[in-house]
């Protein structure tokens, strides 16, 4: 598809492969300039109205360069607003978000209670790059809500993570009174919205993983070809070739599933959850191998190996862990096959 190639080419030009984790704020601005927040915005709302395949292609490229720009939570936040039936100033918000204001969906569970007076207290986990956020899209017991970060009773607390390409924040609510005009759904509508956002999150993360794994493999092959021991390039040793071949096999196979799910508007929620599980597993495997095959240099901070490994490890936990997702897929398949 022409459109897809164009997107991919543009992404690779803007974010060249030899520059890993380019500075966050500049990357974010570039992302907005490239119009990537418009990609999934419906044409009726002034966007490009492209499908999942297009955003998947972008997330794949951003995974490849370990992008620090929080495009995934931003897209999910935007999609929550798009899908909202209740947000008062929906059009206004869409305009602001597609122009680059940042209102991410949180990517770890929320643990909050609602008091008798309707105020909310507790912690909403996994707000990526929370320092940039004007608001957070949070799943509260009363429904999805846009929570302005400067509202009373709202605090963002950074929790340093190993992955240097991301910053994670907890959104801590203390007697926060949700603004009814900023509700994206009620409690009932939250399930439907969750069913829309879940697959989008899983698809995007799977793309991030497989883009990253592709880059990790390429760097490993390059290193083995260049590094000489025993008077020959390491790449000549079959023991290492076979490990690299297995990396290639697993990445390529998972990528086939990625595109087949991205292209299938009928793909079920758990089919995409299964893809996320598989892709994170493959990414972890590939980055483990990457470090081992680099030897001592792979353990150093100057070298890139650890960046991939740490991102892979964090991706495993975002929006549902490997064990959790596999269990759900297994239970659903069991029920379907009875």
């Amino acid at each position: 598809m022409i459109e897809l190639n164009e997107l991919t080419d543009a992404a690779q030009k803007a974010f060249p492969a030899d520059k890993l984790s380019p500075a966050r704020d500049a990357s974010w601005e570039l992302t907005a300039e490239m119009g990537w927040m418009m990609v999934r915005l419906p044409e009726d709302d002034g966007g490009l109205g492209l499908d999942r395949e297009a955003s998947t292609a972008i997330h794949f490229e951003m995974g490849r360069v370990l992008s620090c720009a929080p495009l995934i939570p931003a897209q999910l936040g935007l999609q929550a607003v798009i899908a909202s039936q209740t947000l008062a100033e929906r059009a206004d918000w869409l305009e602001r978000l597609s122009a680059g204001e940042y209102a991410p969906l949180h990517m770890l569970p929320a643990n909050v209670d609602v008091a008798a007076d309707g105020t909310v207290s507790g912690t909403v986990g996994g707000v990526l790059e929370g320092d940039m956020a004007v608001a957070v899209v949070a799943k509260l017991p009363t429904g999805y809500a846009l929570i302005p970060t400067d509202a009373e009773g709202v605090e963002l607390i950074e929790r340093p993570v190993w992955d240097p390409s991301r910053r994670l924040f907890d959104l801590v609510l203390t007697g926060y009174a949700p603004d009814p005009a900023l509700m994206l759904s009620d409690a009932e509508g939250a399930a439907a919205l969750h069913d829309i956002l879940g697959p989008e999150a899983h698809l995007a993360l799977a793309a991030d993983c497989l883009g990253g794994a592709t880059a990790a493999l390429a760097l490993t092959v390059e290193y083995l070809g260049m590094r000489k021991q025993f008077d020959r390039p390491l790449a000549m040793f079959q023991a290492l070739k076979h490990r690299v071949a297995d990396m290639k096999i697993r990445i390529t196979t998972a990528e086939a599933l990625l595109w087949s799910r991205a292209r299938d508007p009928q793909a079920a929620r758990l089919q995409i959850a299964g893809l996320k599980a598989l892709a994170t597993d493959v990414y972890q495997f590939v980055t483990e191998e990457m470090i081992q095959l680099h030897g001592g240099i792979g353990l150093t901070e100057e070298h890139q190996c650890h960046l991939f490994m740490k991102r892979a490890m964090l991706n495993l936990q975002l929006c549902g862990s490997l064990d959790w997702l596999n269990e759900r897929v297994g239970a659903e398949a069991l029920a379907a096959l009875s």
Binding site: M236, K248, T253, L278, A333
Partner: protein, 397 residues
């Protein structure tokens, strides 16, 4: 009609044929080798008649002349309907066909191709005890002589692992006609009638109780020179046509069949009361994901092939992904089945996902060893796809 509409029309045509005609009791009817062979012969004849047995053949043949996209549709439907895989006729309709079609003389084509449709079966006599992965090291010796005024090859040697050779009428035979030069150069390709005096076949007992393949002993077997395909000493190139004949349809078919057979794992989980066992659900979920991914890569491979975008190594990736998933699938069954699976149960011939889990597990090695082992595929991926340097060849003991 558009391409898509044509394909969908074909799909529903195949589907209604299968609904009406597919054998449902073939597993029960394949408990002995003889019954299995009969089931295979009947189903092949039925498919030939219906026009679905040889979609990849040229259009002069009834049921031939289908595009790869059409072939894919037919195979998808055959897999989904869970009818018997065409195992007995596999070598004849793919390997023998491709060899004849691409490399044989007009006389050879006219003689053998129609007979395949009448049910004549072929085997492939390539591997030898001393020539497995390193096929070009084969030693089976052919000497050219004149006997009774006729030019012939007199062949002596042994072939091994030849699938269904014990039932075959004909054999695709690789022999050595010269020991000079590089080892590929002295190889010649012959078409051998299995009833020729001096040919003896003995089935090989496999660890799961099947006898899928056999040894072929050749003792002064006389083969007329007219039975040669290509020139003397040029058999290696012909053999490449044989080996490249299958084009990914089988792996797509098998992947779809494995997906269908996930229901066997589900039944097993229920039979053993493990529905609430979270560890089991996790492992089952991971298997479902892996099998889905194998189906996706098998599909992608064929789609790329249809578009002419196939690259070296692509087929190796599909093969290793499939064999890895097949191992995981059957191993999970053995594990869930517990001690039950250690008691011998009757096997079903000719199927990879039978629900006899130990047998299926043992049979899964067919796919990690045959047709270029997993290790050989990894070499191809590393050296030819990722362009890692080859190992030095001049190994001196």
């Amino acid at each position: 009609m558009t391409d898509t509409a044509n394909l969908e029309a074909l799909r529903s045509e195949v589907r209604s044929f299968l609904e009406a005609e597919k054998p449902t009791d073939w597993r029960d009817a394949s408990r002995t080798q003889e019954d299995f062979v009969q089931t295979q012969r009947d189903w092949f004849a039925r498919l030939v008649q219906a026009g679905y047995a040889i979609p990849h053949w040229p259009k002069e043949f009834p049921g031939g002349g289908r595009s790869l996209a059409e072939q894919k549709v037919i195979y998808e439907e055959l897999a989904k309907a869970d009818c018997p895989r065409l195992l007995l006729s596999f070598v004849s309709t793919y390997h023998a066909f491709a060899t004849l079609h691409e490399c044989a003389s007009e006389a050879q084509k006219a003689q053998y191709m129609p007979r395949i449709l009448e049910g004549e079966t072929w085997c492939q006599g390539f591997s030898e005890p001393g020539a497995g992965s390193d096929l070009a090291a084969l030693k089976c010796k052919a000497v050219r002589e004149v006997r009774d005024g006729q030019e012939v090859y007199v062949v002596n040697g042994q072939k091994i692992w030849s699938t269904m050779a014990q039932f075959a009428d004909m054999c695709l035979l690789l022999v050595r006609t010269s020991s000079e030069g590089v080892k590929q150069a002295g190889i010649t390709y012959l078409l051998m009638d299995m009833k020729t005096p001096g040919v003896s076949v003995s089935p090989i007992h496999q660890i799961q109780g099947d006898e899928e393949f056999a040894e072929i002993f050749l003792d002064n077997v006389v083969i007329p020179v007219e039975q040669r395909v290509g020139e003397e000493g040029k058999g290696w190139a012909v053999a490449q046509a044989t080996l490249a004949s299958e084009r990914g349809l089988t792996l797509m078919e098998l992947s779809y069949r494995m997906r269908g057979a996930l229901s066997r794992v589900a039944s097993l989980i229920r039979e053993h009361g493990r529905e609430q066992d979270r560890g089991v659900l996790r492992d089952f979920g991971a298997l479902v994901n892996e099998v889905d991914a194998v189906c996706a890569i098998a599909d992608q491979f064929l789609d790329n092939r249809i578009k002419g975008l196939e690259r070296i190594g692509d087929a190796s990736i599909v093969k290793n992904s499939y064999s890895r998933a097949l191992r995981a699938y059957s191993k999970l069954g053995v594990r869930l089945g517990g001690i039950d699976e250690q008691y011998v149960k009757p096997i079903t011939f000719g199927d990879l996902n039978t629900g006899n889990w130990m047998a299926d597990f043992m049979n899964s090695y067919a796919w990690s060893i045959a047709g270029g082992s997993e290790e050989v595929q990894r070499n191809i991926i590393a050296e030819r796809m990722l362009e890692m340097p080859r190992e030095p060849k001049n190994w001196v003991l």
